[in-house]
């Protein structure tokens, strides 16, 4: 990806749902080798609440995705 142009734009509907063209999925997953047996796109129960790493809300300890998704 040309990071100065950020060509791959995510399109949203009126309520912030992501509308992804199939090409975007291909861009993402083609560049990431998948382990044998991994679906690569399986859903998980991860929650997205975290305090981030920077600013006054930085935390990085509450990233439940890392365990749920392994």
């Amino acid at each position: 990806m040309d990071e100065n142009n950020c060509k791959e734009k995510i399109v949203y509907d009126d309520f912030g749902r992501i509308i992804l063209p199939i090409e975007i999925f291909e861009t993402i997953f083609a560049g990431n080798a998948q382990k044998e047996g991994d679906s690569g796109t399986e859903d998980s129960d991860c929650d997205l609440t975290d305090f981030g790493c920077c600013g006054k809300n930085g935390n990085c300890t509450n990233n439940s995705c890392k365990e749920d998704d392994k």
Partner: protein, 338 residues
């Protein structure tokens, strides 16, 4: 491959079944911390923005599997009526959508986090708190100053002890700021935290080196060098939790910042939408607006600057997309007023 991240994590950052919002019910603060990067120009969230948020959540909730909400500010508890109002709305929706995993947290200076407030918030499902201390009272009161110029240590500690004595089901992260001036003066303070709080598994500690994040205080305080930061922070973890020091690692290889996630938004008190909670004065971080009916007007070009790590898979960008944030194209004609 070392710099690429597991595609399943990326997928969850693009999945409409997960939705995360950071809300700023007010951008006013009762503190004037000497290193703060915020400008406090925006006041309380207006009713039409509150209504917009409720409508947005009502629209999205039925399809969600997990919903993450974090309160941020300013000091969010200065607008606790707005917080209660939105949380009550969410709880009503959760009653009808019991399959949703709701996770709610707050970054608060805790000055106003009295027991009755905490009880109400916890009962609404707001269980995660991040509360900052700058060290023992003599040090803390020089930097975490109330707007009245008084110190804040006594009030914060009183609230923490009250919460500890309660039976409430919360999780408090005690964020301890580290500077070149305080890192070697923390032994007694950390001993107290370890004995009085960390023995209770509702409390955990997080050391964070103070950084220069811009704003009018930029350049007015000292920060640790990159080389010293890790050594000092590692040694501090050893003092409080030697057997568990690896649990809290700032450079978690799986960490994806909320600003990098396509399904995560910050809604400011003025109804503008942002991605990052640091770069508030930068036009690249004004990515949209929320309307009273809950509809979002989002600028895909601006958002693409923040979500670029999802396409490259670069861990460093996913960890902090603010780093080397690209410029907007010259023909970006923003519809978002300043």
């Amino acid at each position: 491959m070392d710099d690429l991240i597991d595609p399943r994590i990326l997928y969850n950052c693009l999945n409409n079944k997960h939705f995360s919002i950071i809300l700023m019910p007010t951008e006013q603060c009762n503190f004037r911390c000497t290193y703060c990067y915020e400008d406090f120009k925006i006041g309380r969230m207006k009713e039409k923005t509150v209504q917009g948020i409720k409508n947005l959540i009502s629209n999205r909730m039925p399809e969600l599997k997990s919903f993450g909400l974090e309160w941020f500010g300013g000091e969010p508890l200065l607008a606790k009526d707005i917080i209660y109002d939105i949380l009550k709305h969410i709880n009503n929706l959760l009653f009808e959508n019991k399959h949703i995993k709701f996770t709610c947290g707050m970054t608060t200076n805790s000055f106003l986090l009295k027991k009755d407030v905490a009880e109400k918030l916890v009962n609404f499902g707001c269980k995660y708190y991040q509360i900052t201390l700058d060290g023992p009272q003599l040090i803390h009161d020089k930097s975490r100053i109330q707007i009245s110029k008084k110190g804040s240590y006594s009030a914060i500690m009183a609230n923490l002890y009250t919460l500890k004595e309660s039976q409430l089901d919360f999780n408090i992260t005690l964020r301890v700021h580290i500077t070149p001036e305080n890192f070697d003066k923390l032994d007694e303070f950390l001993k107290m935290l370890k004995e009085d709080f960390l023995s209770d598994n509702r409390f955990q500690i997080f050391f964070k080196a103070i950084e220069n994040l811009g704003g009018k205080n930029s350049g007015k305080f000292k920060t640790l060098s990159h080389e010293n930061k890790k050594i000092i922070i590692d040694s501090l973890y050893q003092k409080v939790q030697p057997s568990e020091s690896s649990k809290i690692v700032e450079n978690n290889p799986f960490y994806v910042c909320y600003a990098s996630k396509a399904n995560s938004l910050v809604i400011k008190a003025d109804g503008s939408v942002a991605k990052c909670t640091v770069l508030f004065s930068d036009d690249r971080n004004r990515v949209g607006l929320i309307q009273e009916d809950g509809k979002l007007k989002l600028d895909s070009e601006k958002i693409s600057l923040w979500t670029r790590g999802l396409f490259s898979g670069d861990k460093n960008i996913l960890h902090c997309p603010l780093s080397n944030l690209p410029k907007l194209s010259k023909n970006n004609d923003s519809f978002i007023p300043n």
